[in-house]
């Protein structure tokens, strides 16, 4: 589960990628930039963005 706060253009692109509030994401690596997977797409997000993203853990799928 996700909550995003970012400016227009980036939000637009993230939504086109299927990345918006309520989407399930799979975090691969969280360092200063975040590596995650959403709807089968592997994304690297810069630190300016990741600061504005909140994720809640979801029970692992069986």
């Amino acid at each position: 589960m996700v909550d995003i706060e970012c400016s227009g253009d980036e939000a637009c692109r993230l939504r086109a990628l299927g990345f918006c509030e309520g989407t399930a994401v799979n975090i691969i690596d969280a360092r200063d930039a975040m590596l995650l997977e959403v709807r089968g797409t592997r994304l690297a997000l810069g630190s300016a963005l990741t600061a504005g993203i909140t994720v809640q853990p979801v029970a692992a799928r069986a």
Binding site: S7, E10, R15, L17, G18, R31, L35, R39, G40, L45
Partner: protein
Amino acid sequence: MTSIQPARPTGSADSGATEPRDQLLRVAIIGNPNTGKTTLFNALTGLRQRVGNFAGVTVERVEGGFKGPDGRRITVLDLPGSYSLSAGSPDEQVALEVLLNRDADHWKPDVVLVVADAVHLERNLFLASQVIELGLPVVIALNQFDVAESEGIAIDVPELIHALGVPIVPTVAKRGEGLDPLKKALITASTLPAPQRQFTLPAEVRDALAPLTACLTDAGLTASAAGMEALRLLGVQKSEAHLASVPRLQHEVQDAIATLKNRGYTPNRLESELRYAWIAEVMEKTVTRPRTIKQNLSDRIDRVVLHRVLGPVIFLVLMAVVFQAVFSWAAPLMDGIEVLIGAMGGAVGDRMADGDLKSLVVDGVFGGVGSVLVFLPQIAILFAFITLLEHSGYMARAAFLMDRIMRTVGLHGKSFIPMLSGYACAVPGVMATRTIEDPKDRLATIMVVPLMSCSARLPVYTLLIGAFVPTTSLILGLTLQGATMLGMYLLGTVAALVVAAIFKRTLLKGPVRPMILELPPYRLPSAWSLLVSVAQRCQLFLRRAGTVILALSIVLWAMATYPRSAVDASLPAEVQQEQQLEHSALGQVGRAIEPLVRPLGYDWKIGVSIAASFAAREVFVSTMGTIYGVGSENEAALTEKLQTETNATTGQRVYTPLVAIGLMVFYVFALMCISTVAVTVREAGGGKIGWKWATIQFAYMLALAWGGAWVVYAGGTALGLGG
């Protein structure tokens, strides 16, 4: 969208069609990045591509052609890769304009080919669903079908066709599979009615959007496209160029947003929610993915490649390979070309009578052509590597690794490779900036690439360091000479980063866009596509830069040859040449600019050499040789001359180590390469805007050069270091 034409009388019996077989079919190709769209485009069009720019913007425009199975001519326009039609960048804006037929060129597509990645179908369907609603015939190429199969992803294509309402052709572009059915589908699609949105909006949403949709249809959009735009605009914060002329648009958008909010929706993510909800249903019916989420090969490779320590190491090793390749593998090829051109020039010259025409042909034309062709090996090698890295998927990882460092100066992670290549040659480096999406980042990179000390500066450094810097040993095998050389390289690099930072804060100020980078799965690139891409770049270089370089070489030859003066034929050949150069137009230019270079400690002879080397730096050494009467090939004699040359009036030595260092600093900074200017003009957008930025680049570098040389000379003299 085919126009009806009167049936042409034909000699054969099958004249049932109202379409003349030789009417041009226009196909626009669009798709997500990393779907193999370029590979498919290359497979369809081969080398029959024309590269330019979209009107008024720096977005590259590639159009190619091929013949359909029925002999029909088909032209294909490659639109920039986009995740959605919502313009996040000028690239996507251009794509949208072309598809809505609101672009500056009015290139109206007859069919839209959407290239979708079978492995990431869910995400690709977002764009596809938008394109389907445009009111144009659509064909979907389901590419990388082989990869999907190998990962155990099963796609029920007939069911998918039914769900989307458009023809779908599975393809494996890198192997050329599926191309024939695709071509047939494109031709057939042009005769079918346009597809429609395949899901229905909730009634509330439809009502809320009605006024907005009406406003758009009034402005000339088809009903279908208006519906798509209305939904899309809910999530777009800014006004877009192609809709700027629509009256009351912002007002209607705000109204729709307010209405939807009142009804409990979140307008800015409504499009995403509705489309993905529908996409999920479609995926459910048509795609079966394997149950186990096994770590595939890409993941395993990434564990190493993106490792905190190993990652950068691997990256540096790869960069070293690329650099070395451009630097040294190209060298024998470049020498080969020079020898070949020289031999050809000589052979032609031998058949001509001595005189100016012979000199023009041999030195001016062949010399000029040679100086153009000599760049090809470096360009080809660099682009082969870049294309290989891009198509294999590694480039995204590289950009990711370099991103943090590059951002400290306001540049992009992808700026690294162009700048690295600048150490070998700025020409391919500037051309390589096309991989940077943000136009401001791209321009900033183009502006500073020439500051990286390219290999053409090496002869200048070698000559001057060899003559004036002592060989004292420092540490670990490093001599003062080596340290000076390294210092010059460092100076250029530091200057590049600083200037880039300045540009990004002033002329090219733009929001620091946070990085959203897709890391595509690794794959083996197609050799054919690689070849086509490299050939295309070389072709482009030859046509654009080549003509400029050749023209200027001839001009320079003329300036160095005319006006002719009477020389004493009894003097040795080198002295004759020296006098000839002195009295020529170029020599006079040298004398004329002498006052400008005297504060830097130079006399008119260096002035002439500097003037001549504005075309190409290597010319400095040969011109100096000529001016000092030792001939243009004799470097040892030149070195000796430089060390002993004394000023006739003051009796002091003309060249001191200080002067030499100042001169080298001048060469570190100055832009002295018409080839670089030529490619900068093109990559900065061509035409007026290209020349504007090339001029800015030349001017600031010249200012830096003069300023730097002056600081060294004047400062050094003041500190008593002269002599």
